[in-house]
Amino acid sequence: MTPRLYPPWSNLVYRGALVLLFAGAASLVIVPMLYVRTPYNTSQFQPWSQPVEFDHRHHVRDDGIECLYCHSSAERSASAGVPPTAVCMGCHSQVWQQSPLLEVVRRSYFSGQPISWRRVHQLPGFVYFDHSVHIAHGFPCERCHGDVGRMARVTQVAPLTMNWCLDCHRDFQAGVGSERVTDNAWTSSMRMLFKRVASDRRVTLLTTCTTCHR
């Protein structure tokens, strides 16, 4: 009987190593795929600090200002738009005109230099998103942006991944709500547009690549 070259547990080590090898190879693919979906990478829930301590809670809930008052191009354009300084000053030349919180706004208004806001909702590259068509189809702001009226600092609540977009583009009824979608009080019970949109034969186009990637 030849002496054993390896102890009996070496089999176990060998099998374990094989498993680790394959798992490691698989994880080279899987881990990055998981990583890109983490809130850390998508900047989900990250409270950005902004040059002006703008509080949506006060403007939306206390003052009852509609989204479109400031983000006025959302109905007409791909971009919802951040309001020009002149829009802020429209009210704040009358109210709180001495407030130190508004110093940056006043400086911008009188110097002509724009305020450099930090982008909160940054779509991945290669995507062309159009606000106006979503609004026109009764897609409420809150569906993607969350209840901004309860946010001190606006954060991104949706992951903005492609799969998240496709959740609705494949089953678009999921998001459709009230006619007055820019209301602050959207409720999912007001689904008035279902049938009309569902019968649209061009629905098939919603998942083709060039709908968003051009």
């Binding site: 354009s77 806001w117 930090r118 590259g125």
Partner: protein, 996 residues
């Protein structure tokens, strides 16, 4: 790589091989071992890629406007009506701006010189705006100076002695006013209006016949027989965009029984117009006078032999005599028209007028107006040169003109100009002449300026700014106003004062409406009564055969070689040298980019003992240049044509040293056609950057053609190329709607406007001459040129080739990452962020329309040029495949607009960039369920076909075969490629093993 030339010496077995020798040999530089090493290294590096791709994006900034402008919505593009001006002639355009950045030029449908289309140069003008080498400020003897200070100094001066201006031709009424004011303030001020592509001969010709300079207004839409004498009226003449549309109206044939116009062209080298000619006659430029005289004799019923030089009486002149006889017969019997090109001397123009008079064309197919340009027969460069030589010029002001580069050497401008005591120069950028001047004043680009100009028919067109001047700049109008004494000239004020003097709300609203329209309605010139005022003696002198000019008799292989000059179809006279789009534009017939060549016929090249890419030294007019040879079938023998606009030395990094400067061969008395004192091979070679090196079909039926008779006999002659092929593939998803394009090759002149429009719309990069030589040009749309018939008398077919959006797309099956796939509405989609660059798709594409980003061309694009990018199209990076998308961004934008209004996309709502720009309207696009659109109607015509239909790709792009309308008086041209035109013939030229 041992790549040889597209053409071999004549002694070779196959005179026109499809592939250069050595293409099937393994590459010499890279062996297998090295290749595998590189592959392994590449794979290892590729592993690092995903990690970089997964890095978190840095957070962006949003900078909203400070003020609120009701007309500006972020993300919504605005179109402004303005104009581009070339040598005085304005074309009305609509310029698209994104967030106040001009990005794309389209034609103004209301403007008579545009009708919605534009030329190559109009398209490229937006890139000129963003030229990074534009002047950023004024210079006083090379040191930076304050522009406003210099302008005030100018305005403060009075009665300047010996004041001369050298300007391009101008048509602006405001500039005309300013000139009158300058003459009042500085008595004796002289203005020379000149350009290297002068139209003086046109006006001298009409003055000779009618007693005053008149501008011919051709009515091609009412003409059935056109004879063009060296006239490229579809691409190179001032109103070419408009005339293309008019010409196509009578040329496009909707059904076999319909009628179409017939076109005769006599010219030295192929031009876009010549490539549509039913009968093209290759003659040397100086022989056209004899042709015109003979044509006049023929339409007047006299014998043509007496008008021709004696030496052409033999068999060699036979072709020309028959051509003249046939043309004269058509001119007499149909609604005829003779068009004479701008290069021809005044005598030929006069003869053209006499022929038109004789056939009754004057008043019907051609009418006359006064010229749009100011003082068409005033001082020119020669007059200025004489004053310079005589020392009479004390102060010289030059704007835009570049005489030290373009002036014929015999004028001595280069010698005398530096002796002028005070020299002031103004242009967009510094150049050859500005370096020799004391003051340099930066001009503002047209898109930064207020002004006006007249279109070819006199229509007053507004120029309005679309962007704040990128650099300090002054407009020509403002500069002239300063000389007229205005210390703070303001173009806007001048325009308002002339066109909208009122101040009330109503006046402002009317002014806004006029600006929106872009032109003054009804401001076209009234027609002039043109009566021939020519004495019999003068008439006889004109009609007599030329005595013995230096050029030899037509068609003969004797005498000196004649040089023909031509403004480049890409960079014109050199003023567009700094625009990379134009430098990389494949020219219509030789497909040459980045340079010019000595183009000649195969026989002439053989006689000189040179071939393609061989450098020759040409001596003429006191100068000498070295330039590579390019053989051009259809070129007249014993003649060499040379493009102006190359070989600049102070045009900036893009234009410097590209090609050869042939201005030094020109003389002032013979600017266009001159005998060469000598041509000899230097023994050197310079490999030209050519995008299409082979033009034969070898019987493969790629671009189809037929004569009108053949078409009437067998309307379905293209049947083999549209009948569906049996297939084993699963049927594709057939949607209820489907996008498709139809291209009529009968009216495609190959003018290249679509190529540049596509480049501008889709952020297509330029790659440089070296990459073009490696076949890595990026144009999504190219115009393939096919040549049928013999070398001496070829027929050209232009075939715009772009992604065919095949229903069974070969590229889609082979993509490992599904980066290219099919949309429900019939588009072949390309998704850049999925593409990993295997290039399988390009390999499998039979049309070879896919382009690969070998390098990060965008990174190499100057930052200012990046401002031109269309924000609605992804800018591709290295390692990504790209191709024509049918302008999917426009389709989806229309879809979004329609969805918002709860309606379907309307017929004609989506217009692709190439369709929009096409001067003849040869490209139609739309959804196939929109029955009433031209696109769908054209597809139903008998002569439609699909390229490479036999492969079963089922393309969405359909072509209409080119129909010729030859005269029965002339022999049918011989066909070298048998089977190319006949539907059922087998192709004998097919190499064994090719296809299937």
């Amino acid at each position: 790589m041992n790549r040889s030339d597209r053409s071999l010496p004549l002694a070779a077995v196959d005179p026109d091989p499809e592939f250069p020798p050595g293409v099937d040999q393994p590459p010499a530089e890279l062996d297998r071992r090295r290749m595998i090493q590189l592959l392994a290294a590449g794979a290892a590096l590729a592993g690092l890629g995903p990690i970089a791709g997964c890095m978190k994006k840095p957070s962006d900034r949003i900078m909203p406007r400070v003020d609120q402008r009701p007309e500006l919505t972020p993300g919504v593009a605005l179109d402004y009506a303005t104009a581009t001006v070339m040598d005085g002639y304005a074309t009305g355009v609509l310029v698209t701006t994104h967030e106040a950045r001009p990005t794309k030029v389209e034609g103004n449908p209301d403007h008579p010189a545009s009708l919605g289309a534009t030329s190559v140069f109009d398209q490229a003008s937006v890139l000129q705006l963003y030229d990074p080498d534009r002047a950023t400020g004024a210079l006083d003897r090379g040191t930076p100076a304050e522009l406003a200070t210099l302008v005030r100094q100018i305005a403060g001066r009075e009665r300047i002695e010996g004041l001369w201006f050298l300007l391009h031709p101008q048509s602006s009424p405001l500039i005309e006013d300013a000139i009158a004011r300058i003459r009042a303030r500085h008595p004796g001020a002289r203005f020379a209006f000149d350009t290297p592509v002068s139209r003086r001969a046109v006006f001298e010709g009409s003055r000779l016949v009618f007693g005053r300079p008149l501008e011919p207004q051709y009515r091609f839409d009412r003409t059935d027989a056109i004879v063009a004498l060296d006239a490229d009226f579809l691409a190179a003449m001032p109103n070419a965009v408009r005339w293309s549309r008019d010409f196509a109206a009578r040329r496009r044939i909707a059904a076999p029984q319909a009628d179409m116009s017939r076109l005769y062209v006599a010219e030295p080298h192929p031009t876009p117009t010549g490539s549509l000619a039913d009968h093209a006659l290759a003659v040397r430029g100086s022989e056209l006078r004899a042709i015109a005289a003979a044509l006049l004799a023929a339409v007047e019923g006299r014998a043509i032999e007496r008008a021709l030089p004696a030496a052409s009486a033999g068999a060699e002149g036979e072709g020309a005599r028959r051509w003249i006889a046939a043309a004269a017969r058509d001119l007499r019997t149909r609604r005829g028209l003779v068009v004479v090109g701008d290069r021809q001397p005044r005598e030929v123009h006069a003869l053209g007028h006499l022929i038109n008079q004789a056939i009754g064309a004057v008043g019907s197919t051609v009418v006359f107006t006064r010229p749009a340009v100011i003082e068409p027969l005033g001082d020119d460069l020669a007059a200025l040169a004489a004053a310079l030589a005589a020392g009479r010029v004390q102060t010289l002001v030059i704007a835009e003109a570049n005489p030290l580069y373009t002036a014929p050497p015999d004028l001595g401008v280069a010698v005398h100009l530096p002796r002028v005591p005070e020299r002031i120069y103004a242009d967009l950028a510094e150049n050859e002449t500005s370096r020799a001047c004391h003051w340099f004043l930066p001009l503002a680009h047209a898109m930064e300026s207020w002004g006006d100009a007249r279109g070819y028919d006199g229509t007053v067109t507004f120029i309005q700014p679309l962007i704040q001047p990128l650099h300090a700049g002054i407009t020509l109008l403002e500069l002239l106003s300063a000389f007229a004494g205005d210390p703070e000239p303001d173009g806007h004020r001048a325009v308002r004062a002339r066109y909208a003097p009122g101040t009330g709300d109503e006046a402002t609203a009317a002014w806004q409406a006029a600006l929106q329209r872009g032109l003054v309605t009804g401001s076209a010139f009234a027609l002039e009564v043109a009566a021939v005022r020519l004495g019999d003696a003068e008439r006889a002198t004109l009609a007599a055969p030329p005595g013995d000019p230096a050029p030899g008799p037509m068609g003969q292989m004797r005498g000196q070689i004649e040089l023909v000059f031509e403004p480049s179809p890409a960079v014109y006279d050199g003023r567009f040298s700094a625009i990379p789009w134009l430098q990389e534009l494949p020219k219509p017939f030789d497909k040459l980019t980045w340079g010019n060549a000595a183009r000649m016929s195969r026989a002439t090249a053989a006689q000189l003992g040179v071939g393609d890419h061989d450098v020759v030294r040409i001596v003429a007019g006191g100068g000498a240049v070295t330039v590579p040879v390019l053989i051009l079938p259809g070129h007249v023998d014993r003649c060499v044509s040379l493009e102006l606009g190359y070989g600049r030395w102070a045009a900036g990094p893009v234009g410097d040293g590209v090609g050869s400067n042939v201005y030094s061969l020109r003389t002032s008395d013979r600017p266009w056609f001159a005998p060469a004192a000598g041509i000899a091979a230097t023994g050197e070679r310079h490999r030209l950057a050519i995008t299409q090196e082979h033009q034969r079909q070898h019987g493969r039926q790629i671009a189809l053609e037929a004569t009108l008779d053949e078409y009437r006999r067998d309307p379905d002659f293209t049947r083999e190329r549209w009948q569906s092929e049996p297939t084993m593939l699963a049927p594709q998803f057939e949607s209820f709607f489907h996008w498709g394009m139809t291209i009529d090759t009968t009216i495609c002149s190959g003018c290249n406007a679509c190529v540049i429009a596509c480049q501008a719309e889709n952020n297509v990069p330029t790659v440089g001459a070296d990459q073009v030589r490696r076949n890595r040009e990026m144009h999504w749309l190219r115009i393939d040129l096919y040549r049928e018939g013999g070398d001496d008398d070829p027929r050209f077919i232009h075939q715009p080739m772009l992604c065919q959006h095949c229903a069974n797309a070969p590229c889609e099956y082979v993509c490992p990452t599904y980066a290219t796939q099919h949309s429900p509405d019939g588009l072949n989609e390309m998704i850049y962020n999925r593409c990993i660059g295997t290039r399988f798709c390009s390999n499998n594409c039979p049309y070879k329309v896919r382009r690969f980003n070998w390098f990060d061309f965008t990174e190499d694009t100057a930052r200012t040029r990046q401002l031109q990018y269309n924000p609605n199209v992804t800018v591709r990076s290295r390692g990504v495949m790209e191709k024509c998308t049918y302008c999917v961004q426009r389709i989806r934008a229309a879809d979004i607009a329609a969805r918002k209004q709860r309606r379907d996309i309307r017929p004609g709502e989506v217009v692709t960039a190439c369709q929009q720009v096409c001067p003849t309207g040869a490209i139609q696009f739309g959804r196939l369920d929109h029955d009433r659109t031209l696109n769908v109607q054209w597809r139903g015509e008998h002569r439609h076909y699909a390229v490479l239909n036999q492969l079963g790709t089922r393309p969405s792009t359909v072509y209409l075969a080119k129909i010729w309308n030859p005269s029965s008086d002339l022999p049918v041209r011989l066909d070298e490629d048998t089977g190319a035109t006949e539907g059922g013939a087998q192709d004998p030229a097919k190499p064994p093993g090719a296809e299937r």
